[in-house]
């Protein structure tokens, strides 16, 4: 069986950044395994700009951002295996993978970094009533068709879900000559960035219908229209507000799910909130020598944050392989009050400063974030607005964490 110090599963932004970080921290015997035929992951189809302001201090498109990392991977001579699918990993870090050339093969790794990214929630997860015609796509699928394949999936479009991909696709379809009739959002607020509502909807006069959802799909062979309706505060459609919109295309931008089949298969402890692994400050999972980063761990808003999280995992894995990881000196579990929906990391196992990332579950105005050890407030931070669409972070210094046994993050309104 082939033995490799470090295997990185996934060659998207997380995998490439983790690999570069591991290299810079002393690892040479490593391999990136990627199932697609090129590196870059989802960035290849995200041709819009807005990437890289944090990482490079300039605004890049997705493919340009990916290319910066790919060039670096090549320059460092980090081996990459493309068109290769990892089928399983186990808690002893044995990897089973397959490709056309080698058939099914096994690798034994000293450490593994999981960087498989996420996938889109499909129509089936929504239970929309009606027929099953063609013309219904997830927004990312439509993005791939337009931006990679060069095909337009339709001319008259309704988009369900106002996450960033939905907003970006509203503009993209408009640019290519389609008419976007509405973007419906179940919640009373958009999950997308304010800048995208401005430059993708308002610039083109596309209506954003908040507290609206698609209640019925019409059409036999091809989609002919959708019925939308306003929802009440408990998100139930209000019958009297039903409205028919003729369209040939429905794009669904209704959430992303971390792609964790391999993680679950390895028996790694999972978070029911993030749908990713539970990790410590080095992005180490519950399985010895297995780390996770990027959208497979929790869905990020910005690729820049994916890259910096992957650097942490890369360094963590390198230290582990080189025997530089310190033994765990503490075991602080981080809990949340529900208004703060989750944190990453979920536990702290060692001394040192820790950036704790978190996401809130609703829009809260003029709220104070409190970090507490029991009754004792360690840190508080006031903000005019916390929104679910924006990942927040708080820096906890080694001093603050001294003697702490259990941390709670909560919001006070």
């Amino acid at each position: 069986m082939r033995k490799i110090d470090l295997v990185i599963v996934g060659g998207g932004p997380a995998g490439m950044s983790a690999a570069i970080s591991a290299y810079e921290n002393g690892i040479r015997d490593m391999l990136i395994i990627e199932r697609d035929s090129s590196l870059g992951g989802i960035l290849q189809q995200c041709i819009h700009n807005g990437f890289g302001l944090h990482t490079f201090g300039e605004e890049l498109t997705g493919p340009e951002y990916a290319w910066r990392y790919e060039e670096k991977v090549r320059e460092l001579g980090i081996p990459v295996m493309l068109d290769t699918m990892v089928l399983s990993i186990d808690e002893n870090r044995k990897i089973v993978a397959t490709n056309e050339r080698d058939g099914i093969f096994e690798i034994e790794a000293k450490a593994i970094i999981l960087a498989m990214g996420c996938r889109e929630r499909p129509r089936g997860a929504l239970n929309i009533a009606g027929t099953r015609p063609s013309g219904i796509y997830s927004a990312g699928m439509a993005q791939k068709l337009v931006n990679i394949k060069g095909y337009m999936p339709g001319k008259n479009v309704v988009i369900l879900g106002s996450g960033d991909i939905g907003l970006i696709m509203a503009r993209r379809m408009t640019f290519e000559g389609a008419k976007v009739h509405a973007v419906c959002e179940l919640m009373p607020y958009s999950g997308g960035l304010a800048r995208n509502i401005e430059q993708c909807l308002n610039d083109f006069g596309i209506p954003l219908r908040l507290s609206h959802t698609v209640v019925e799909i019409h059409g036999k062979e091809r989609l002919e229209g959708v019925t939308i309706a306003k929802v009440d505060e408990r998100r139930r459609p209000i019958e009297s507000t039903r409205e028919y919109i003729p369209c040939d295309t429905l794009l669904l931008s209704v959430g992303l799910i971390p792609e964790n089949e391999l993680t679950v298969g390895a028996g790694i402890e999972m978070s029911r909130i993030t749908n990713g692994a539970v990790v410590d400050q080095n992005r180490r999972t519950s399985a010895e020598g297995i780390f996770a980063c990027g959208n497979v761990l929790h869905v990020h808003d910005l690729v820049d944050f994916v890259s910096s999280e992957a650097e942490i995992a890369g360094r963590g894995a390198a230290d582990y392989i080189l025997g530089k990881s310190e033994r765990d000196t503490k075991n602080i579990e981080i809990s949340t009050d529900g208004k703060v929906r989750y944190t990453v990391p979920q536990r702290i196992t060692n001394d040192g400063d820790v950036d704790v990332y978190f996401r809130v579950s609703d829009v809260y105005r003029n709220a104070i974030l409190k970090v507490c050890d029991g009754e004792r407030v360690i840190l508080q931070k006031k903000k005019p607005k916390f929104a679910p669409g924006e990942m927040e972070s708080v820096k906890l210094s080694a001093d603050m964490l001294r003697g702490v046994e259990k941390l709670t993050l909560s919001l006070e309104i």
């Binding site: 290849q44 041709i47 819009h48 700009n49 807005g50 302001l53 605004e59 890049l60 498109t61 493919p63 340009e64 290319w67 337009v146 931006n147 990679i148 394949k149 060069g150 993209r172 640019f175 290519e176 960035l193 304010a194 800048r195 509502i197 401005e198 430059q199 308002n202 610039d203 808003d301 910005l302």
Partner: protein, 114 residues
């Protein structure tokens, strides 16, 4: 001139800006950085946008391109039409100039192909 409420599109923070004109002077508030001020003034005088799209390639596929600098916002549709009428010869590398002076901007490739 009146007062305008704007959402800054320069970075993911998306500051809520107020721009108020008195004579020639435009006062901007709500911006957390100087780029927000520039954006608000542009938005009131000459709004600009970077266009990102794809162009046809000689093999029948597409390659991602962008305007290397922002162009006037009301020229976006015309800019798209110009890009859609050209065919890019392969191979093409990130940064290669596809078209010159489209409303003052170069159209450059943002992807490698061929």
């Amino acid at each position: 001139m009146d007062k305008r409420e704007l959402t800054c599109i320069i970075c993911p923070r998306g500051c809520q800006l107020s721009a108020e004109a008195s004579g020639e002077e435009i006062t901007v508030s709500g911006n957390l950085c100087p780029r927000g001020k520039t954006y608000a003034i542009n938005e009131c005088t000459n709004p600009v946008r970077t266009v990102t799209t794809t162009a046809r390639t000689s093999d029948g596929g597409v390659v991602a391109v962008k305007t290397a600098s922002p162009i006037p916002k009301d020229k976006m549709a015309e800019c798209m039409a110009i890009i859609n009428s050209c065919v890019v010869k392969l191979p093409v590398r990130v940064g290669d100039v596809i078209l010159r002076d489209v409303f003052g901007a170069e159209i450059v490739a943002t992807q490698n192909k061929g």
